[in-house]
Symmetry: C2
Subunit: 379 residues, 2 copies
């Protein structure tokens, strides 16, 4: 690896995660080449090289993967066969193609946990809508599409059998609802040499309506032994996968006391944005360190932090206009990150705000103030 | 100002300061258009738009300044007449052209201090080499070129009359040497609305040989009343100038107890790099806030920090290779920033490292370790 001599990193996907990866990689003089099917993607203007093309097209991805030092992803929905072909050609692809393929399908993900004794909620595979009827006595549960779900799309609550009519036709899985104490996330990284580091657990709070992370707080307010147990699970996971890169692990701390893996994402993740200001090393730099086989950075918390998404306001579609930003910028320890998306749509992730504070209460008050003041509408 | 709706900022200069400005501006979705005479300048690849051309050419600069929301600089050596012409056309130019013109000439700078009762060391204007002979009894002193000095070039110590033969022919000034307690720097910013904020003072330590800042420590270890006095001077300065943007003020704390302004730079500055990790708001974001007339950010220190330049090793010219970086990345609270310069030369500023620490001693030890391990040589 010729790190620090203009290392060339290829990234499948050119969205906001890629954008923050580029922003971080400037410090290491990394040359980014990004691929995205949207010519106006958040990375389009700031990448050293930007290729407009389909992440799902075998030939496009194989061609894109030539003459790079390492290839990585910022979205899972990519052509895994193409990545496997690149690996066969001797290219470095991190995370590895077989892991991406497994994570692309939530059914395979769940099967992996089961086969490898990674604690997770009970589940059954569902191949057709009518099979759901066999599980009337197994509710409440969550039906999830096997493939192509993303950010709340492809997830359906099944509280009573009458909800079955809202179910998915495509191959899916039905997960028994977990009575949760809290939902947490831990980001774990592993480099090629096998060094592993976990970030401290964060706590996720979902918006009841549109099923996106509403805000998160770092550190999670959980007992030390719960955090310890959760960290051991994430370390076990990356070791069993021989994973290289950064893995975001969403976990349930169940009322039963169990820690259960919910879902994983093999890339920088929404639950790690606040590391940019809140921790010594950001998830973006850590991902770069991991895939370039550099020593992993210190993941400790510098300060209590929180993160809220900036979502497009309902009822507005068009060129984005940020209302109330001046009010936000008057606040101390408040960091807007806009994703460079020209067009806003209802609930579109347009950016996020990181909040630093003295303590949890301080941070919560700031969140309230931001929520009451900041709106993304159209011009 | 249409801030937060893809504000377009033009920058004269495309060096490392511009690079870190872009890196910061990504958070605000600012569109940068940069002008530099070097097609391989640090900003060339990451700017949304990069124009290759001379900063000193009137027509080039006037043409560059069209269709921007605001025009700023990251280097003083620009065509000030062109900026004045743009102001006449009604464009926003911050800092303002007449301030840039004054700062370009150290003789005018000194005269400004004198005329405006800003404390500074005694000086005389020197128009030809032979005039120096009149000041044999006025030594030790420093001769400085009026124009075009930069980073140690254009500065000559005059300890005894025998040093006069090393003097400059061009218009210069001779400054009486100040017996210093410490050299400090304060970065002050002012937005168009007149809001002013100062960063806490940092302490500069120069390398005895190549006359560049060797390292700096934040906060400066100086009495509170000295810092207060220094801050008042910097505030007085930006108010008297009606300055808009960020102004780096280098000051001497003299053994006499006086605080004297040494030099000023109307842009982000070497003495503010450590604000990226060490303070709540970085100097780069603060500059953007100031020129976009946004509320200024909190300048408080988050943690003790230090900054050392990464200079090209003596005896090596060619494609840069960073030796020992792995060792540096193992350290906690250590942040390399490479400037994206392909070619190293002796003493060329290739990057810097910010160091966070528990206290001053901790930080000093880390600096020692970095200095012993990190080298920039050629491949």
């Amino acid at each position: 690896m010729k790190a620090f001599s203009r290392t060339k990193v290829g990234v499948l996907g050119g969205g906001q995660l890629g954008r923050m990866l580029i922003q971080s990689g400037i410090n290491f003089d990394i040359q980014f080449k990004m691929l995205d099917s949207d010519a106006q993607a958040p990375c389009a203007q700031i990448a050293q090289e930007f290729v407009h093309g389909s992440l799902m097209d075998f030939k496009t991805v194989v061609k894109f993967g030539q003459e790079l030092d390492v290839l990585t992803i910022e979205i899972e929905k990519v052509n895994a066969d193409a990545l496997e072909e690149l690996e066969k050609q001797g290219k470095k692809v991190f995370p590895q193609s077989h892991i991406i393929r497994m994570i692309q399908d939530k059914r395979l993900q769940k099967q992996f946990y089961k086969d490898n004794k990674i604690p997770t909620s009970d589940f059954v595979l569902i191949d057709s809508l009518k099979e759901l009827d066999n599980y009337s006595n197994w509710l409440p549960a969550v039906q999830k599409l096997g493939r192509d779900g993303y950010d709340g799309r492809g997830v359906q609550m099944m509280r009573t059998p009458s909800d079955f009519k809202k179910g998915f036709e495509e191959p899916s899985l039905l997960e028994k609802m977990v009575e949760m104490e809290k939902e947490i996330a831990i980001i774990v990284s592993r480099n090629e040499a096998g060094e592993i580091k976990t970030f401290p657990a964060v706590e996720l709070v979902y918006h009841p309506e549109h099923n996106l992370v509403d805000y998160l707080i770092s550190p999670a307010d959980i007992p030390a032994e719960i955090e310890q147990k959760a960290k051991e699970i994430t370390i076990d996971l990356v070791e069993k996968l021989s994973f290289v890169g950064i893995l975001a692990v969403e976990l349930f701390w169940a009322k039963s006391g169990e820690i259960l893996v919910n879902e994983i994402a093999p890339r920088p993740h929404n639950s790690g944005h606040q590391t940019i200001e809140g921790n010594y090393t950001s998830q973006y730099e850590q991902h770069l360190r991991a895939i370039l086989n550099l020593p992993l950075g210190n993941t400790e918390i510098r300060q209590v932090s929180a993160m809220i998404n900036i979502l497009g306001e309902e009822g507005y579609t068009g060129k984005a206009k940020y209302v109330g930003m001046d009010e936000i910028l008057k606040m101390e320890g408040v960091y807007p990150h806009l994703y460079g998306k020209e067009i806003t749509k209802p609930f579109r992730k347009m950016g996020h705000v990181t909040i630093l504070g003295k303590n949890r209460e301080d941070v919560s008050q700031k969140i309230e103030h931001i929520r009451n003041n900041l709106k993304v509408i159209s011009q």
